[in-house]
Symmetry: C2
């Protein structure tokens, strides 16, 4: 038996969204609710998927069902395709599982032909309407189905308006429109080589195929990627009997929201146009009237509409965005869906719905898109100014927020200018740990290379600053402090604006609105905390970041990257001396200088945590990242070490690696230089002792994390160093202090042998960035070069450094969690890679039963909300 | 109940080698055979492992068992520890599972003290022997157990000889030796702070601990690594009643082989010393006599010995290496083991044993160490000259063979000098594909960086040339064509010699013996082919290499790295034009130049294969590897492309990657530039058509291999390009040609999702080099920096790029094979990484049920033999 590819509106309901698409499912639901919906049928999303599987062909089977359902629709409506006396006219609209506004195509008035139009004009005594509908149909059909450039038709309209001496389309007479229709048909024939099809069935079948095809158009592809919509979902097609808002002054069309989508206030908000079809509202040629005015013009229709709005909101328990048409004083509902809203409105609506007793707290939590919280937590550009400003380029939206400032090209300049009170944007090929001071001084960062997990992106998110990364359109000339972009030169001191939430770059200054946290935010967060199972920690390298993370609800420190503490001037010198040492003694001497500094850092961090847990990762990056680059610094180091400049350069060269990401880093440093691990252990333990002495009521139990472990014996060697050093420090202090030693799981081999590693580890923390790199063999700094092509070819649907790859990387994580817990029942397990703050990844980690996620401070609220949603949805 | 840590010789046998060590198991076996073995007991290897687990301590349990076994041994021998009238004296010797000659320590004459020695001298009327034995014991004990520098004792011996005016130890009288003994004891006390222990039990326990400890001494660690002996095996300790070869002219000691270990000829070969202990033979102070002379001196003993030799060879069915002692005309066997032999002798002995009906062909195959075949297939230095020559450095033995030649520093010079008929050694920081022409001209390569799978190593093995890589002791100054090593400067034109089999580097010329393949080699290989299940292919990039591989028994081409074909002058130009193209058309134009050249390459390869299977891998390395580096070449390219030199440099810079190994390479190139895959497909298919037309009887079925796949959709996109192009070519030619499209499995994600990938792949071929890199996160080019420390700390026991890591990488391979075959029953599966030619890895691949391994031509015989051994041992 063949598959059912088509459903009448009355055969479906809202639960069938995946099959019928959002629009189709809601049309069916409204039919079920006995609301006035022009009837029709929906061709399923599965049919679309099949169409692509079959090499963009409608199967015979599907074709036969379409013909069947035309007959059924004719029966329901009492009208007939192509019957001049009582013609069935339909609209053909796309409708995916989630709304993709304006991304796909629509055809109205399908079913018209020369015979039908004449009779229709006559029957309704409205030839202008009839011909206007026909010419619109030809225009849409030519554009959407036959891909004739729509400008040709617009030129013809302009020509006839000039000829007739009129300015607006509505001023054209029935005769004018009839003439235009003839011109359109002639144009069609000259472009396509055959007559405009007069058979409504032929029109319909081709229109359906065109809608399927539009699923794959370039704007849809980009929209899907930006909104995490899988290619595999496909779109449904809705074929619906036409009703006409353009039949005169008793007709009209409009859109409305049940609540204010900008503020969330509880009042109807909408607009309408008399004597118009839907596309006129969208096109914005005529200015629509506020919905309230309908009350006086058509009080009964208005009352009907108000009743329906209430019904829909109560029924869906969500703010609705609706389209309606009035045909000769009859109200028809063409669409309802959950309305898009600002983050602010989303919170208010959710809270109000709870207060109104419409929904539960759980439902309120699941109503809010966690990603939208970003706009509440970061500054944003003035929306009105933004509307009128064209970006000069778009790159990766690496860290949310908005900033304007003067361009600087070096971290030193950023610092200098910042001290003079100037707002600066740091523009670099890429940033490096050395730039950290300058990055603190800048308002935002723009980089030419690097992806969503590049240094600039990670640091920006940690600092809550905006960052646009991987803008490869920039032609950079750092030496001369100038770059070219969009055909213009930008020099030091020129002003640009970055929107890190969208990845857009603007020329000049744009006014900025600061972030403000509202009461509703706090309420929703409290509710989220009630329901979530995953704990949420923050990634932070400084006491200030820890503080920020805790303010935003973090329950501890999940990742402290200790190397970031080595870049301040006083420290980097000692660190470089350590690197350039020939003997253990020399290295120990240099490390002894770092010990008290690092200890002080940890003390401040423990203070800021007030007894909450702290995971401290030991030195991770390759030593090459720390070496001096300027001649001046090299000379200075040579002098300190009593070596020649060439000796120092030799050392620097010897640290060069072909693939540093897989080189001498992570715990490999601790294996080759145990003295580094010793110093870091002493610093952690001494700090913990000091803070414990000062705050006996706090629970101080440092978690020392060994990075990049691939083998249990490797962990054991480093752990032995840590334990020996720590126990000696604790014994010397004569205090009772507990600590844990765990490992970062970030290599495939660590996952594969997690059963062994768990025997030596108190905890696992997944470093999903590195794990993603190794599992795919993608260097996150280089992948930008080919990921574009991967999206275009539908090989990847999202950046695996943003959303965790559940199939591959996720499989390794799942394996490691199971193997690890089997051999160590007290093992606690978390994630501290960038994915720890991404909602779909958090949902996945919840399902795997991890104990916590950790993310940069500004992502903590997102993680809290996403974790609560995951818990609620998986109950 | 406590574990049994100790076995009497009569409690064991040869099958208990893992527990008792080789020496202990064979002493037990000889006891079982009723051969004259001084009795004793063996402390197990498990006890050694436990000793290390317990933090280098003997457990109470073990200690108690030692005391027990002393009593048992006293009962067996009728002698008693410390009894002056009838003292039990013992030797204490290490003995691992496999022989580690001279690596660990031995103590003789244990049980002597002041009381015992006096009585012993009296009883046997031989005070000289008694005192000599005592002073030897003190000397060995002090050195081995107490780590007193042995030079101190030697100085004392020299002093007394000077005082007495004698030259040889044997000229010292009993009184002299007694005096010496007092001096030794005084020295001991001054160094250790206590008297030399007189309690034999205390002596014994400390000696046992010292032998355990010696398992971990630096020379043992190095030896184990060189010989693939796991640290975890541990050593057994053999405690055996002393017999004395130094009791006068009716006593002696010696060693013998049952056949000639150099040639394999069937005759006894050995030597002995009268009135001596074992260490005198080893020390080489006196020249031993050939074993045949024993016949006249002690005919009965000799006859006994001949009979025992025959018994042992027949019993063990292998050539034996034996130690014996004659005490007052009584023969005692102290050791027997399989004798070390040259590769040549190994083949001859194995064939002779089969011909003599002693063993089966299967047994003959398992007798030969596949790694030793290298010395038969490659030139080697004259062993006698080598003995007397000290290497200036040792680095990685990257490709076997030996070569002397004049140093050159660039590939161009290698080519130039080579054309002048000079033998040259190319010395480079590292080699790159650009150097290929020069590498062909050189006799061998020496590199400063890079490991066992570096470019130089891989190319060398492919060419059958010798290579020593990763010699980081070299201080290189390429610009001035000079390097420093071992305190000397080496200039262009200076002669050095490289031994790629040992990794040793020598100054000056060393005479070289060419490889010669003997009949026995062919016989063994034929036998191997009878038994092996794994098929063996060769990795080869040129028709010449294919030819060489087939000569050595390869059954097809397992990996053709097509990029290696692009480095010849005419090709590299076109390839660079392609890289620097702005448009598809430009790229296609450049590729069109390459197509006929690559087609011709494939034709020659198909010709050389004569219908055997051929796997051709499409372009794999990042494009950056192909760009010009010299200003001249850049100018040339700029001119051809009509661009400025700066434009070209910009392009080159834009191709730079942070981690090229995980960058824009492999199938990612085919996704972004499908035209490259199209060109390569056309070249393969056209070549196959041409050769098929010429040889209708050959089975031509090219296997096109897509590298670096991580996701099925990625493979599908590239496969679609290949299939479309191939089918068009085949249709145009009007011929019936089959081909396969498969993938290289070299990323963890490919293994994890192999069930999906198998649906689109005709075959999997594991690229174990890259898979090892990603699984461990080890860059093979950079890992040398820390692998040394990893061996020292026993984190790794062998280089995972040499022997496949079965636990991690192997787990992924196993997973992929299972998942792949489940979804595609006709999938064929092979390995073409460097591990395909390494015996222990081959055994593992056999167990996983792979279809074939592929390796460089000169490793093919090793793979054939190893595959046969795996099949036989797993029957």
């Amino acid at each position: 038996m063949s598959k059912k590819w088509i459903y009448l509106f009355k055969e479906g309901d809202t639960s069938m969204k995946n099959l019928l698409g959002g629009k189709g499912a809601n049309l069916a639901e409204m039919t079920k609710l006995d609301l006035p919906v022009p009837q029709g049928f929906t061709i399923t999303t599965e049919a679309c998927t099949q169409y692509y599987k079959d090499g963009r062909k409608l199967s015979d089977d599907m074709y036969a069902q379409i013909l069947d359902y035309i007959v059924k629709l004719e029966e329901i409506t009492g009208k007939k395709f192509g019957d001049p006396d009582n013609p069935l006219l339909v609209s053909v609209r796309s409708g995916g599982r989630v709304s993709m506004p304006g991304m796909m195509d629509t055809i109205l008035n399908l079913g018209l032909n020369d015979a039908v139009v004449e009779k229709l004009a006559e029957k309704f005594g409205n030839p202008r309407w009839a011909w206007d509908s026909y010419r619109r149909f030809i225009q849409m059909y030519s554009d959407v189905v036959m891909m004739v450039d729509k400008k040709i038709f617009e030129t013809l309209i302009d020509d006839i308006k000039t000829k007739k001496g009129v300015k607006e389309d509505v001023e054209l007479s029935a005769e004018d429109l009839k003439e235009l229709t003839q011109q359109f048909k002639a144009t069609y024939k000259s472009k396509i080589g055959s007559d405009f099809p007069s058979d409504p069935k032929e029109q319909l079948v081709d229109a359906i195929k065109a809608v399927f095809r539009s699923w794959d158009n370039p704007r849809a592809v980009v929209y899907r990627r930006d909104n995490d919509i899988p290619y595999s979902w496909g779109t449904a097609v809705n074929v619906q009997m036409m009703v006409f808002g353009n039949m005169g002054e008793t007709s009209g069309t409009g859109v409305a929201f049940t609540r204010d989508p900008a503020t969330g206030e509880k009042h109807l908000m909408g607009e309408f146009l008399l004597n118009a079809q839907g596309e006129d509202v969208v096109a914005g040629i005529r200015t629509p009237q506020p919905i309230e005015q309908l009350k006086e013009m058509m009080p009964e229709v208005y009352a009907d509409f108000i009743r329906i709005c209430q019904t829909l909101e109560n029924h869906y328990k969500n703010m609705q965005d609706m389209e309606f048409t009035i045909e000769d004083n009859h109200l028809y509902m063409l669409q309802t869906r959950s309305g898009q809203r600002t983050a602010f409105a989303a919170l208010k609506i959710a809270c109000d719905f709870v207060d109104e007793g419409l929904i539960s707290k759980e439902q309120a939590i699941t109503m809010i898109n966690p990603r939208n919280l970003n706009t509440l937590l970061h500054p944003a550009f003035d929306a009105k100014v933004l509307e009128k400003t064209k970006p000069i380029a778009t790159a990766l939206a690496a860290s949310p927020g908005a900033a304007s400032g003067q361009i600087v090209f070096t971290a030193e300049d950023a610092k200098k200018w910042g001290e003079l009170g100037k707002a600066v944007i740091l523009v670099r090929l890429e940033t490096s740990p050395e730039d950290i001071e300058g990055m603190k001084a800048a308002k935002g960062f723009l980089t030419v290379r690097g992806g969503m997990t590049s240094h600039a992106a990670v640091v920006a998110r940690g600092m809550g600053k905006c960052c646009v990364s991987g803008c490869s359109d920039i032609i950079m000339d750092e030496d001369n402090k100038v770059f070219r972009l969009a055909g213009k030169e930008f020099h030091e001191g020129d002003v640009i604006s970055l929107d890190g939430t969208t990845g857009k770059i603007y020329e000049g200054q744009i006014p900025t609105k600061e972030a403000e946290i509202v009461d509703e935010f706090e309420r929703i967060m409290e509710w989220a905390d009630e329901f979530r199972v995953l704990r949420v920690r923050t990634n932070a390298d400084t006491p200030k970041d820890v503080q920020k993370g805790r303010e935003l609800g973090a329950e501890g420190l999940g990742l402290c990257r200790t190397e970031h503490m080595f870049f301040e001037q006083s420290r980097i010198d000692a660190f470089r001396e350590m690197i350039c040492s020939d003997t253990l003694e020399e290295r120990e001497e240099a490390l002894a200088k770092l010990l008290p500094l690092q200890q002080r850092d940890f003390e401040e961090i423990f203070e800021a945590l007030e007894g909450n847990p702290a995971t401290i990762r030991f030195l991770d990056p390759p030593l090459h990242e720390f070496v001096p680059t300027s001649e001046e610094d090299i000379k200075k180091l040579a002098k300190t070490k009593g070596k020649s400049v060439n000796d120092i350069k030799d050392i620097i060269n010897s640290l060069h690696e072909f693939n540093p990401m897989m080189g001498h880093r992570g715990c490999r440093l601790a294996v080759t230089y145990p003295e580094i691990a010793k110093m870091q252990t002493s610093a952690v333990i001494r700090a913990a002792i000091t803070v414990k002495k000062a705050h006996s009521d706090w629970k101080i139990k440092p978690e020392i994390m060994i990075p990049l472990v691939s083998e249990i014996k490797e962990l054991k060697v480093v752990k032995d160093i840590v334990v020996k050093t720590a126990d000696d420090e604790i014994a010397a202090a004569g205090i009772d202090l507990k600590y844990e030693v765990g490992t970062m799981i970030e290599l495939p081999r660590a996952c594969l042998t997690a059963n062994e590693i768990a025997k030596e580890a108190d905890f696992f923390c997944f470093g999903t960035n590195d794990l993603t790199q190794m599992t795919f063999g993608f260097s996150r700094d280089d992948a930008a070069k080919f990921l574009g092509a991967y999206y275009e070819d539908n090989i990847l649907e999202s950046d695996p450094f943003v959303k965790v790859d559940q199939k591959g990387v996720g499989q390794l994580i799942e394996m490691a969690v199971k193997l690890g817990r089997k051999n160590n029942s007290s093992l606690h397990v978390g994630v501290c890679g960038e994915h720890g703050g991404e909602p779909s990844s958090i949902a996945f980690f919840h399902k795997l039963g991890l104990d916590y996620v950790s993310c940069s401070p500004y992502r903590v609220p997102i993680a809290r909300l996403a974790a609560a949603q995951a818990a609620i949805l998986n109950k």
